[in-house]
């Protein structure tokens, strides 16, 4: 189902995310691929599941195959597409393929830089960027490719985009967000934010944009993970108070503490957004508890 239909029904949309493995997952009728298990564990609690595209520029199983696998196990995929690895022909072709294979949702992203990944010597593409990809995908929905040639059949894809409320200057990020909306973005998923005041400001500034925004929630599993993010993931900051709170409990209580912190944050933020996008990194099992706790 298209996420846009859910938003139209005023549904508070919940999504999760899985990252494909580095390897082939042909199972020949065996058990589901392990990387999907995390999504399967919370299948009944989420509307759809993002499937990442060579995330962090590490070569892995592709998101189209991952999306099809999700569908085979009864889940709605959100097919992530980055502009890093494919030119405009390949991206358009993959959008046609995705829709032809029954995928309803696409998240149009620029993509992390090659330097962050495991193929640093690769030739980066970035033939187009996320705004242009949205514009082009909208064109495919309207029945034409980016040079104006008619399609035998239009795509019918809900078009999502990403936004980073942590970005400084925020005005510049909002300028780009508005360009994405004009280009065709129908919903947004944010980068994780741990500062409620910062998100409140972002929500206030974007309230008039008329596009549903899903709050991105990376569950911080340990002080080590928080420090790793601060040191290595640009654009996201885990605040000191959160690190100290995690450090205040013994390791075996990290999960309980992470659940508590996540609930606290989401209780404040859920009223300010139209959905939550969880990135649980192996801790999907706390999502049902969190959702039950924040239910209005």
């Amino acid at each position: 189902m298209k996420l846009t239909e859910l938003f139209a029904q005023k549904e508070f949309v919940i999504t999760s995310e899985v990252g494909p493995v580095k390897g082939c997952v042909r199972s020949n009728g065996g058990p589901p691929p392990e990387f999907l298990q995390e999504a399967l564990d919370i299948k009944d609690y989420v509307h759809a599941v993002n499937i990442t595209d060579n995330q962090s520029a590490f070569m892995r199983l592709g998101p189209l195959a991952g999306s099809i696998l999700l569908k085979q196990y009864g889940m709605d995929p959100i097919f992530q597409m980055t502009c890093r690895d494919r030119n405009r022909l390949a991206l358009q072709s993959d959008l046609l393929s995705a829709c032809s294979l029954g995928i309803d949702n696409v998240l149009c992203l620029t993509g992390d830089h090659m330097k962050l990944g495991d193929h640093k010597a690769a030739k980066q593409v970035f033939d187009i960027d996320s705004v242009q990809l949205l514009h082009i995908a909208r064109g495919l929905n309207e029945g034409h490719d980016m040079v104006g040639h008619s399609l035998t059949k239009s795509t019918d894809l809900a078009l999502g985009a990403a936004v980073n409320p942590n970005f400084d200057p925020l005005d510049l990020q909002l300028l780009k967000m508005e360009k994405k909306i004009t280009a065709g973005a129908q919903f947004f998923q944010t980068q994780p934010v741990y500062d409620v005041k910062l998100y409140e400001d972002f929500a206030r500034r974007t309230a008039g944009f008329g596009v549903p925004i899903m709050f991105g929630m990376v569950i911080i599993k340990s002080p080590k993970m928080a420090k790793f993010i601060n040191a290595n993931v640009t654009g996201i900051t885990v605040p000191e108070w959160l690190i100290q709170e995690m450090e205040s409990v013994p390791k075996e209580q990290y999960k309980a503490k992470a659940t508590e912190i996540t609930i606290r944050l989401l209780k404040d933020i859920a009223p300010l957004c139209q959905g939550i996008h969880f990135m649980p990194f192996g801790w999907s099992d706390i999502v049902p508890t969190v959702l039950a706790a924040i239910k209005p």
């Binding site: 993509g111 830089h113 090659m114 242009q132 514009h135 980016m146 200057p169 990020q173 300028l175 640009t234």
Partner: protein, 226 residues
């Protein structure tokens, strides 16, 4: 200018393996600025080659080796030396190497022409003798009028045209945290110029046919074809 760096001597000697008599051709243009192929560097290379047992039979440094108008008048009078050489080593950009090879062919010579440098981009000198920055990709479709005189095609690590990605932190690029995010620079510049609204315009995908290789420039007509 075209930025150049010197190849490791081991690699140069590998390229010259089996060639005893060497002619060294430098470039007193860009390579001089980069301290890689001016008159001084050609002399130093000749010394190094001699120390490695090579016989250096020619040392010349045209003003701009990439331009036949400058290199032909220097190389033509010494074509006998070029003919005698087992190899020509050029300390210049890839263009200088290929123009030198072209001229040897014009002179009816079949002599191997090797390079001693790596070309590293269209560079502009910021601190003479110290620092040059890559600022232009020669994309054939300049958008500096729209971006406050700062090129995102070159200075944004992803070459983004519609604004920044979400990866910048503290104003720095996600691909190199020592470097400023090009789009924040552009934004601040446009803010100062009172032209931020211009950044809201959809730029659209770039026409890369204008950068399709190899391009030919017809100077008199001001026309480019590829």
């Amino acid at each position: 200018m075209i930025g150049t760096t010197k190849k490791p001597m081991e690699e140069i000697l590998g390229a010259l393996e089996g060639h005893r008599k060497v002619a060294v051709v430098g470039c007193d243009g860009c390579a001089k600025v980069c301290l890689t192929g001016g008159t001084d560097e050609v002399a130093a290379m000749a010394q190094d080659l001699k120390a490695q047992g090579k016989e250096v039979i020619l040392e010349v440094t045209p003003e701009r080796t990439c331009n036949v108008a400058k290199s032909d008048p220097v190389l033509k009078p010494v074509q006998d030396k070029l003919k005698e050489a087992d190899a020509v080593l050029v300390l210049g950009c890839g263009g200088a190497v290929q123009i030198t090879r072209h001229l040897t062919e014009v002179y009816g010579l079949t002599v191997p022409v090797k390079t001693g440098l790596d070309s590293v981009g269209h560079m502009d000198t910021l601190v003479p003798g110290t620092l040059a920055l890559e600022q232009c990709q020669e994309c054939g479709q300049c958008i500096l009028n729209e971006t406050g005189g700062i090129c995102p095609v070159t200075k944004c690590a992803k070459g983004l045209l519609e604004g920044p990605c979400g990866g910048a932190e503290n104003g720095k690029c996600e691909a190199d945290t020592d470097r400023d995010c090009a789009w924040i620079l552009i934004y601040n510049r446009m803010l100062a110029l009172g032209e931020v609204d211009k950044l809201k315009r959809y730029m659209g995908p770039k026409d890369y046919s204008k950068a399709a290789k190899p391009r030919t420039l017809y100077i008199k007509e001001g026309r480019v074809s590829s």
